[in-house]
Amino acid sequence: MVASRDYEGDHGAKGYVMPVKQDPAPRRGAFVDFAPEDSCLEVSGFGLRYGGKSALRDLTLRVPRNRVTAFIGPSGCGKSTLLRALNRLHDLNEDVRREGEIRLEGQEIHAPEVAVAELRRRVGMVFQAPNPFPMSIYDNVAFGLRLQGGLRKRRIDDIVEWSLRSAALWEEVKDRLQASAWALSGGQQQRLVIARTLAVEPEVLLLDEPASALDPISTLKVEELIRNLKSSLTLVLVTHNMQQAARVSDYTAFLQDGELVEYAPTDTLFTNPRLARTENYITGRMA
């Protein structure tokens, strides 16, 4: 037991404890503290069930263009599930049932006329563990371009260089483009994967714990890269590392138990969250 934290004056305040207040908002229904004027992705009433188990419930949020939006929350809260839903990675799983809509630039991404391959080009994804293909650095970046076809060698060279520069990797690899991608360090591999995604000119980049397998210096490089990329695209980041979300994101959504709890500018969410559930999570308190 620690000493009394009350003021030790002679006014009888000692031992006084204010009654605990409850969340002003009801348990259901998120607290959303901003309305982006220019959003790139819009999720509305979105829910997802895996073989009868509900993973996401009635999520509605808008992802602002040319900004970094972070999804945070405890393990199993649905943040990665939501991220994967944004480029339809759940399509491969037959057990998944979804409801609600996700619109990219106004178009419902599940509409029959939307080709999944084209959607995934427009909405690129980077995973936790760097996954370069077993080929050279150059070929990794050129892979998507060759798949699209129709580009001359010179044009591919240019795009590879531009992508590696955009991913802040060019200076480190320009003299060994034909070396195996697997010879790179973990942090370089992750930036290579980002370069490979950038080569096909996505509009949105989804990052699922992109730095959690990296050392602190590589982490800072990836974070710096994320900040620089937002001038040309929209980024959505899932992270366990709250300091990372605070460092790099402009907006933060806190999810818990498959629901959106609070979505606000990062400045506000990390200094003065509106809901007790958010406060408890970001300050490491018991719920």
């Binding site: 004056g9 006014h11 404890v17 207040k21 509106r274 007790a276």
Partner: protein, 242 residues
């Protein structure tokens, strides 16, 4: 979200709970010492006790040491814990509050030094009524501000902020009557100036107590009211139930 005074004891890390509790305890201890310094300085004048006044001047070092210790604890918490939300606001509020308390300590020293001069020159009791009235008022403000800090009580904090205007007007009125003394009797100029410096110091104690109260609102509500007009405070602070 409004926070309550027990919020900093609910972390998963018990060590962090302990560090924040210690921080609050040390700030309150510093508040207690500083309040006693002001009380003793004023009593030294009113009772003509120059030895007590000397002790107040000596004790200022202890106040300064406490500020340094509290600042150091805050630095450690910022570096090691990277606090967020209410934890961050607590650390910032404590750093600011410790700085204001240290300044109040300086004002107590000023009062004590002037008291030594006045007592040793047997300057009479002119202006003592004003000193007594204003000192009681600012000490109440200071106590209430510290209590508001301990209880996370924004209503009490707002009362302190609103009282500061009253102290300012009492100070102005005391100044006018002391000026009259000086105009009436040139021999009174020197002792009355001493009293004026003491009143000025007490008025500053009121201003610093006002600052302490503003930090309570920041800590509890996340609102910065340092530059909000007193008339608008009620709406901004109590009207916000978010």
């Amino acid at each position: 979200m409004d926070i309550t005074s027990d919020i900093h004891s609910q972390h998963i890390s018990r060590q962090f709970n302990h560090e924040l509790e210690e921080l609050k305890t040390h700030l309150m201890a510093m508040g207690g010492l500083v309040e006693k310094q002001v009380q003793d300085a004023v009593r030294a004048l009113l009772d003509g006790d120059s030895a007590l006044a000397e002790r107040v001047v000596d004790n200022d070092r202890a106040v300064n040491d406490m500020q340094i210790k509290i600042d150091d604890e805050c630095t450690q918490i910022l570096a090691r814990r990277q606090p967020a939300a209410s934890d961050l606001r607590l650390v910032l509020a404590v750093i600011r509050a410790a700085s204001d308390l240290e300044r109040i300590g300086d004002e107590a020293s000023k009062i004590a030094r002037n008291a030594v001069d006045l007592v040793e020159n047997q300057s009479g009791t002119r202006g003592f009524v004003e000193v007594r009235v204003i000192s009681e008022h600012v000490r109440k403000m200071m106590r209430d501000a510290l209590t508001a800090f301990a209880r996370f009580d924004t209503e009490l904090a707002l009362k302190v902020v609103q009282e500061d205007e009253q102290v300012d007007s009492e100070y102005q009125s005391a100044m006018r009557s002391l000026m009259t003394f000086m105009m009436e009797d040139a021999r009174a100029i020197s002792p009355v100036l001493g009293i004026m410096w003491i009143l000025r110091a007490l008025e500053r104690v009121g201003d610093h107590s006002n600052n302490l109260a503003e930090y309570v609102v920041y800590l509890v509500k996340g609102l910065d009211i340092r530059h909000t007009a007193p008339d608008d405070l009620g709406d901004e602070v109590l009207g916000d139930e978010g």
